[in-house]
């Protein structure tokens, strides 16, 4: 750009002033509700005192971080968090897409609608009830255990006793609960594909499978990539509620994650600054992942967040 900053600025203002005006409420929103309280991010470096407030409290630097990193179980917690998250993404990300694609092929509109409406219902049931059901399914002499007994599993034992089964149970039950809900965005993306493209492909002699490859998939590609990049940005966010409801000390080896450990720590002694430190640590890792994924998708697919 040969033009100077002020020249470009003036030109931009002339052309786009209506755009800036239009987006003003959004900018105000972020300024007031996100950036104004942002100073609180320093709480994890302070010895928080209510009377002094966040700003007035004493600095203690990295004390909480050192505390967390020097835990005997730090590496295990990190490993479990990443493993569970990665497995959730590897399994849980493609399945709703495939589900949507298959559902799209269903001829009967009534059947399609019924499946959609029913399959997303488990998403609304509270996690407490879902975990009770998971325990029921995987209990001794129950549905899944009896099924697996034909493959050599000793069905006198609950499946949640085994640390090898925890991650599969966790991930697959997530799929069961959330696929119907997660595929909605893909269904809407599929609905947005221009019908004429299908017509054109059919005229060119492509069968349904080829159509899927050359029309459908490219048509939802942008959505898929966007959601994938964003998904990677929550890699460290394995919520504690479901873990707590399903785990027991016999499976800590694979089930104990950062959030469940922090929860137990909070029971011993509550400390906002400590949990804020963990939160910040998680966020930093999340951001690294999202920016890396974004750059990769920009290079490889030409599209990304920015």
């Amino acid at each position: 750009m040969a033009q100077s900053f002020s020249k470009r600025f003036k030109k931009d203002m002339r052309l786009n002033w209506s755009a800036y005006l239009l987006v003003l409420p959004v900018l105000l929103y972020y300024a007031i509700f996100c950036y104004k309280p942002m100073y609180g991010i320093i709480i994890s470096f302070k010895d928080f005192s209510l009377r002094k407030g966040i700003v007035g409290s004493e600095w203690v630097g990295l004390v909480y971080y050192k505390d967390f990193f020097s835990s005997y179980y730090f590496l295990r917690l990190l490993k479990n968090t990443v493993v569970i998250s990665a497995a959730s993404i590897a399994v849980g990300f493609p399945i709703p897409i495939i589900f949507a694609l298959l559902l799209n092929e269903v001829r009967s509109r009534a059947y399609k609608r019924t499946v959609q409406t029913v399959s997303y219902m488990p998403h609304f049931i509270s996690i407490v009830v879902i975990c009770a059901l998971i325990r029921l399914f995987t209990a001794n002499h129950s549905l899944l255990t009896t099924f697996f007994s034909y493959f050599g599993y000793d069905d006198r034992y609950d499946m949640l006793n085994y640390k090898e089964y925890f991650v599969p149970i966790y991930v697959l039950s997530n799929v069961w609960q959330n696929t119907g809900w997660n595929c909605i965005i893909y269904l809407s993306a599929l609905a947005g594909i221009d019908m004429e493209l299908y017509e054109a492909a059919r005229i060119d002699g492509a069968n349904r499978w080829k159509q899927t490859l050359h029309v459908t998939l490219p048509g939802i590609a942008n959505t898929v990539i966007l959601l994938f990049v964003l998904r990677l940005g929550s890699i460290m966010s394995v919520g504690f509620e479901k873990i707590i409801l399903l785990y027991n000390e016999g499976v800590y080896e694979t089930a104990d994650v950062i959030s469940s450990y922090t929860y137990r720590r909070g029971l011993v002694k509550g400390d906002y600054a400590y949990s804020a430190a963990i939160g910040l640590f998680n966020s930093v890792i999340n951001v690294i992942f999202v920016l890396t994924a974004n750059r990769a998708s920009n290079r490889l697919a030409g599209v990304g967040l920015f």
Binding site: M121, S188, A191, F306
Partner: protein, 298 residues
């Protein structure tokens, strides 16, 4: 739609695929329907029967009782909860859609100088925030404590949703935008007459996302509301679930409640999930039909 003829055209392989596909979805229907079915039949089964036969049930256990529903429906906080959630939902959703649309539109513009910077700043807020105390003090200083506004305005925008809509806007063919610009349309008009009509299915998804978000939100209510009469349904539901967990640990006589706590839990889930399930069919239309962009070109 000329579906039938297309089927014949596709050939045998596709017909076989159809059979398996339909069977697959029958299985899916079965396994995803079970949780709701379980909750439904458990909600009017006999409490002692449920306790003794704890495990899989395929049929409700006699003697049936509607006691749990009676208690839930006559429980004032639940009725108030519905009313409060409805108010918050309608107002919140309207604000959400307006804000998300203008934000997404702005971020989808190509030749605006600051759009990238602003986009980065917005993305930053998805990962870093001030935390609970500064947010609370902020809401308080704006005078919104103990009002519905505290549940509507701070949650006016979800960056995640906005990025989805932005992607949809970015997918609108540039030729249509050019045509509108040539006709003299300014940004607002482009948004209204080109972008929004063409992204109906995405907008429907966002209505669903925001709607369900409002329906299930309890945390903001728990910190910003003092009047228990303003509690939304999700918070009421959560209070009951939490209480029923520690009710059982009570040291004294618990016999009187006779295990209705479990039934009430299920009845509550049925009662509070039902309205949302009714909303979905209305939005479904937007996902199922295709969009004839070609027609608009003419």
């Amino acid at each position: 739609m000329k579906k039938k003829s297309t089927l014949k055209q596709e050939g045998r392989g596709y017909e076989v695929f159809q059979v398996f596909n339909n069977l697959f979805f029958a299985l899916v229907l079965f396994i995803t329907a079970y949780p709701i079915y379980y909750v439904l039949i458990a909600s009017f089964s006999s409490p002692s029967g449920l306790a003794v036969n704890y495990g899989f049930i395929w049929l409700p256990i006699k003697p049936f009782t509607l006691e749990a529903y009676r208690r839930v429906i006559t429980y004032r906080p639940v009725i108030l909860g519905f009313k409060n959630t409805f108010i918050i939902l309608v107002a919140g959703l309207a604000l959400n859609m307006v804000m998300t649309s203008i934000g997404a539109y702005f971020l989808s513009l190509k030749n605006v100088m600051f759009s990238r910077v602003i986009g980065m700043l917005i993305l930053f807020t998805m990962y870093f925030g001030g935390g609970l105390i500064p947010s609370y003090l902020n809401v308080r200083s704006l005078g919104m404590l103990n009002t519905y506004w505290a549940l509507i305005i701070p949650g006016a925008l979800s960056t995640y949703n906005m990025l989805i809509l932005r992607s949809a806007f970015a997918g609108v063919p540039a030729s249509l935008v050019e045509a509108a610009t040539i006709d003299g349309a300014k940004h607002f008009t482009i948004l209204r007459r080109v972008m929004l009509p063409l992204t109906g299915s995405t907008l429907a998804v966002l209505v669903l996302y925001y709607g369900v978000g409002h329906w299930n939100a309890w945390f903001s209510a728990s910190i910003y509301l003092q009047d228990t009469t303003k509690y939304p349904l999700a918070l009421v539901l959560r209070n009951i679930l939490i209480k029923s967990q520690d009710a059982e640990m009570r040291q004294g006589d618990a016999g009187n409640e006779q295990g209705f706590t479990d039934l009430i839990k299920y009845a509550l889930i049925v009662v509070s999930t039902f309205p949302i399930l009714c909303l979905y069919p209305f939005l479904q239309r937007f996902f199922v039909k295709g969009v004839m962009i070609g027609a608009l070109k003419g």
